[in-house]
């Protein structure tokens, strides 16, 4: 079903994204900047979600850019030339699920995601921490392992949420065997890392005995990744934190993501809360591709981009 974009999304955001595409098919973080996998993924998610008939070549060339950017091990690097994959692999695999020409690329990406273990939760490190005098400084359960921003580092909230969203989006029959186990661990890790009063920051709920303060963006991604169990305590506490903090939001990126999150939980946008249109028109420094893509996605009423896909007769459809 084709989602109906509202006037802000169509007249400003989607137009911005179409104009910002580079000749190589990708998007940078800003119009005119070098194509990067991450900017390309967000722009494509928005265009796919709200596609008009004449967007098909824009989207196809974006898919071609992503396929060409994939590394041999199935991962995607953050920037061209880099030979190590990173969190962007989740986003690229997610986006390419919509491309009928990319099943091999997606399979390789999913395989990499499931084999990419963070370094902080190894048995050896857990043992070291258990006997360390600093173990009480950041009391997190290191047995719950999510995903890092880059390989060989620690688990963090946003890359874990991106990986979970990708694994949730993917039809069961396409998932590697390890996927279920990784999902369980990743979800447990997110719940363990919630800040004491709700919400998430990058992944430090408590440092040196002081409660960490939650931030909007990690909170949104964690809530979206955990939305299949809305009744859980962490979800309700964090939704309440998010709703309570909406009046204080001062950036367009946080505002559009908060809108997406509340809508996906069936919550209404609070009366008197900041208005996205004001933010987008005021936004300085100049609007970037991610913000415009998220603003477009916020206008989607169907939210197909978050819904799991099913495989029917060899074709992937939104469930």
């Amino acid at each position: 079903m084709e989602a109906e974009p509202n006037s802000l999304a169509e007249s400003v955001c989607l137009h911005f994204l179409r104009e910002a595409q580079n000749a190589d098919g990708g998007w940078g973080f800003h119009p005119g900047s070098e194509s990067r996998a991450e900017g390309t993924c967000w722009a494509l998610l928005a265009l796919i979600e709200l596609a008009q008939t004449d967007d098909s070549e824009t989207i196809r060339s974006g898919f071609r850019f992503l396929r060409a950017a994939q590394l041999r091990d199935g991962s995607w690097p953050s920037t061209p030339g880099e030979q190590t994959g990173c969190w962007v692999t989740s986003l690229a695999s997610w986006v390419l699920l919509a491309d009928p020409d990319s099943p091999k690329a997606v399979a390789a990406g999913l395989d990499w995601i499931c084999k990419d273990w963070p370094r902080d939760g190894t048995l050896w490190r857990r043992l070291l921490v258990r006997f360390s005098s600093d173990r009480h400084l950041s009391p997190i359960n290191m047995a719950y392992r999510g995903w890092g921003w880059t390989p060989g580092t620690a688990s963090w909230v946003e890359p874990t949420a991106f990986a979970l969203l990708t694994l949730q989006k993917c039809p069961q029959e396409l998932l590697p065997r390890m996927a279920r186990h990784r999902r369980d661990l990743g979800e447990a890790m997110l719940r363990d890392r919630m800040c004491p009063v709700g919400g998430w920051n990058c992944g430090n709920p408590r440092v040196y005995g002081v409660a960490g303060e939650a931030l909007v963006m990690p909170t949104v991604w964690a809530l979206l990744a955990l939305r299949q169990q809305p009744e859980k305590r962490e979800n309700s506490l964090s939704l309440a934190w998010l709703e309570g903090n909406i009046p204080h939001i001062s950036g367009a990126a946080s505002l559009v993501l908060a809108q997406i999150c509340l809508a996906s939980y069936g919550r209404k946008w609070p009366v008197g809360a900041p208005d996205l249109h004001d933010f987008i028109s005021r936004s300085e420094p100049p609007q970037n591709v991610q913000v415009m893509a998220w603003a477009s996605l916020a206008s989607s009423t169907t939210r197909d981009w978050l819904r799991p896909k099913s495989k029917v007769g060899g074709i992937l459809i939104d469930a």
Binding site: T79, E82, W149, W156, N201, Y208, V210, V216, A253, S254
Partner: protein, 302 residues
């Protein structure tokens, strides 16, 4: 591309550091900064300048980030000294919404339109830089083209203690040039490479030409985010960031030679020893304000 040759400290002439007193942010900072910069004969006429501020998080009370009044005063001063363009930039480490941080400190009220003045270094175009120093495990990093392309780079930290590095001043501030768009939020690859050593590699690769430390209101204890505000009433200036940081440590009542990364920086990047630092402006005794540190850094306190 900016010149990046390394000179052993024993071959360097003494470094000049200027300490100025400013009781609060309502002070005439523009005159004070211009007057202080004039001590240095800075080669900025017709050049591009980047003020690398320290913007670590949402800060409506303006206690953890470089204060916008200091940034504005520095920008104004470099323009008055003939700089062709003065950019402000940072790549916050913990929060991806840089706009929210910039708005939270109301930078626009001090600078005017930010569209062409502010650069989010997290999502700037990047270029691969190979490290010559190999102090850490890192062999290379992608760094923002804006940082590598400007003629004159100024590190503008806040005077703070740091729960992992001891202190965060002009050298540690350079972590903010490492782009989140390549390494994430936080830039965890730097922690795994060893914070102290990564500071040395980054500063050797993209050396700041000048440092201006906002010590009017600092932070002690569990910095850089969750510490306590500490009024110190100083601005510190210098073209040797190591000497500036060492001087700041002494102001904070800390022994710079015991801060691991500063001791390392003292071999190749600048001067740590007091006798190699020509101090101008206020005397050390008149501005010394002991800062509390976490137990893990008790050995750094003098």
């Amino acid at each position: 591309m900016r010149e990046r040759s390394l000179i052993p400290s024993f071959q360097r002439p003494p470094s000049k550091v200027v300490i100025r007193r400013a009781a609060d942010y309502h002070h005439d900072l523009a005159s004070l900064v211009l007057e202080s910069l004039s001590e240095f004969q800075l080669p900025v006429k017709g050049k591009t300048v980047l003020l690398k501020a320290n913007l670590v998080g949402l800060d409506p009370h303006r206690i953890m980030n470089t204060h916008p009044a200091v940034i504005a005063a520095a920008r104004d001063s470099f323009l008055r000294l003939g700089a062709s363009e003065v950019f402000i930039g940072d790549g916050p480490a913990m929060d991806r919404d840089t706009e929210a941080i910039v708005e939270s400190i109301r930078l626009r009220e001090y600078i005017g339109r930010l569209a062409h003045a502010f650069v989010d270094l997290n999502i700037d175009d990047v270029e691969r830089v190979y490290f010559q120093t190999h102090a850490s495990r890192l062999k290379e990093l992608y760094l923002p083209k804006t940082v590598l392309g400007v003629d004159f780079l100024v590190s503008m930290p806040k005077l703070k203690t740091h729960h992992w590095a001891g202190v965060t001043l002009s050298l540690k501030n350079m972590f903010g040039i490492v782009p989140g768009g390549c390494y994430g939020w936080p830039k965890n690859v730097l922690h795994w490479a060893g914070i102290d050593r990564a500071i040395l590699d980054i500063n050797a690769a993209a050396r700041p030409d000048f440092a201006i430390v906002d010590g009017i209101m600092g932070m002690e204890g569990n910095g850089p985010i969750q510490g306590e505000p500490k009024a110190c009433g100083v601005l510190v200036f210098g073209s040797d960031p190591v000497a500036v940081d060492a001087t700041c440590c002494r102001i904070m009542g800390l022994i710079p030679e015991r801060v691991k990364y500063l001791a390392g920086a003292g071999t190749l990047l600048g001067h740590v020893q007091a006798e190699k630092i020509q101090q101008l402006g206020e005397s050390m005794a008149s501005v010394r304000t002991p800062f509390a540190v976490l137990k893990a850094f008790a050995h750094v306190a003098g």
